[in-house]
Symmetry: C2
């Protein structure tokens, strides 16, 4: 379920703070979808919560936890940043994929979508394979684009795992190496690959990546 | 503290699961820096943890929590994706800023840095101001670049809050509106703005944004 609200908890840091906040949320039958903890003299915890019946009551419950100074309620990160298109690979090609993806995301966001485009430029089979696997652990990651000239081996295994285990589709640029065999879609033009990635996750687009499975452009 | 490890917990979903996992981590004197919860018939919780003295013991403790099927330990998202440069604004300009930022991040990542570049293309004062405020709640957000032609009002207030409250520096393109007065640095060329944003957060670069405060290029 997509969390609508973020509960921003400002508190004196102490062991067990998160345990007690999590207990409050669980007691209301709600779920913490994601958390970011900013440590400091006064710690801050940002909890994206879904499924709470009575947000005002949960707000009061969280304020009553020992050590909590105050709690602000804002839009969740999921509402603000929406679905995430992730682009991984070499700098030159990542930059071209993002050019297409950001321009296309803009067009859909104008019509009510929320799609962000996130990137990391990396080199090396081990590093890229680790990043591909880590995409499955990122909040709201919706699709991955691999932007490079040669990818195979561990990267191909990571792509298979991401698709099968996490259900995240993968678009690969047409390139050397076995990764193109494991991808849902292979695209020659990096700008088009970025555009297609956004279209694949946008509810405002008519583009079904499953119908193009195994195709190359 | 930057978390090194991610504990990937696979468990039968039940109320209080996160509370009990958090209790384990707290009992070991460690901190959960961020969490992503992937719900399903078998729920998955990804916990980025810092400060654990004995990772193997924590691994065993988490495996012993009621309902937990198994726990995998991998690199944390912080290790894989590193510092985040966030770019917000209109599609055309966001794309140009990212072109510079990704190319520069590539150069630093080759020398051992980990810098990712994340974007969202948005229109409207309210929407952009909400996104600027939300940057303070994102894990590992290190710097913000505003890429547009006109920004002021609520966006300027959000920029002041992000800088003062969250300590996140802000680079603005030279543009109409009051936002340029609130930014740490104003840059005319979007590609250069992206490059400078990466240089400002890279330990591998000699670039101190504080020494350029209030300057425009």
């Amino acid at each position: 379920m997509i969390p609508k609200r973020c509960y921003c908890v400002f508190a004196a840091d102490r062991p067990g703070l998160l345990r007690d906040l999590a207990a409050c949320v669980a007691a209301r039958g709600a779920n913490i979808e994601s958390i970011n903890h900013v440590p400091g003299t006064e710690t801050e915890m940002y909890l994206d919560v879904s499924g709470e019946d009575d947000p005002e009551q949960l707000h009061r419950d969280l304020q009553a936890v020992a050590g909590v100074d105050h709690v602000d309620v804002t839009e969740s990160s999921a509402s603000v940043f929406g679905k995430r298109v992730i682009v991984i690979g070499g700098g030159a090609q990542v930059a071209q994929v993002v050019l297409g993806a950001v321009s296309e995301a803009d067009r859909h966001n104008l019509r009510g979508e929320r799609i962000s485009v996130d990137t990391i430029a990396l080199v090396g089979e081990t590093q890229i394979a680790a990043a591909v696997r880590a995409v499955g652990r990122l909040p709201r990651a919706s699709i991955l684009v691999l932007a490079g000239s040669l990818m195979g081996g561990e990267i191909t295994k990571a792509v298979c795992h991401l698709r099968e285990h996490n259900g995240i589709p993968v678009i690969s640029l047409r390139m050397a190496g076995s990764v193109t065999e494991a991808a849902d879609l292979v695209v020659s033009d990096p700008v088009q690959a970025g555009v297609m990635a956004v279209m694949a996750v946008a509810d405002t687009a008519k583009f079904d990546i499953k119908r193009l499975k195994g195709k190359a452009f």
